[in-house]
Symmetry: C2
Subunit: 115 residues, 2 copies
């Protein structure tokens, strides 16, 4: 179907197709953005911009269920966006990546540049 547009010859389509990153790369990239695509996780990241914080601190700050926070922290950890440091009973989390802040800021800029 859709033999469509003479402007997009098979050659051009083939050319662009070859220039595209692999399925796997694009999948991983999407997975990464998916991590940032949740209110709770963005809030956690935003909190951790201010420095490391223990789970209980995050729970208090965001006034959310401890279990919910723990689950999201595990997801962020798996994605290597945060890392945990155990100290006695507590676990202190902090950002594990220096790109996150830039990406976050650029996202903010994008979302709020238009009034």
């Amino acid at each position: 179907m859709t033999i469509c547009c003479e402007t997009h010859e098979k050659d051009e389509v083939e050319l662009i197709r070859n220039a595209l990153p692999s399925e796997d790369h694009l999948f991983e990239l999407a997975e990464f953005f998916k991590m940032l695509g949740d209110s709770t996780r963005i809030k956690i990241i935003c909190v951790l911009f201010h420095g490391e914080m223990c789970v209980g601190g995050i729970v208090d700050l965001l006034e959310m269920n401890q279990s919910a926070i723990s689950h999201q922290l595990r997801i962020l950890k798996q994605a290597r966006i945060v890392k945990g440091r155990k100290e006695g009973k507590q676990v202190f989390y902090s950002l594990d990546d220096h790109h996150i802040k830039m990406i976050y800021e650029m996202g903010m800029e994008h979302v709020f540049e238009r009034i």
Copy 2:
């Protein structure tokens, strides 16, 4: 609960809480990243880096269902990530924002810097 960490006094928690962006802002930001957090949409965006392309062209390139592509294009359009230009029977889509490319590239860098 979680009276926890003496290191995180109520004052500090309150201080950080006040420094956080509003709920609404963080929600919108998460919504934006959610748009990038899907394989199909990332692929579409990736294709459109090469220039505008009609729906049929995208369908051919990605070898996907036309309906699926149309649905995702509508979502991307609502999020103001792409825009459409009608020309006869065809609709040509292109990126609607200059931040996207940088965010995309930074995401790629993040995902693939670690071997």
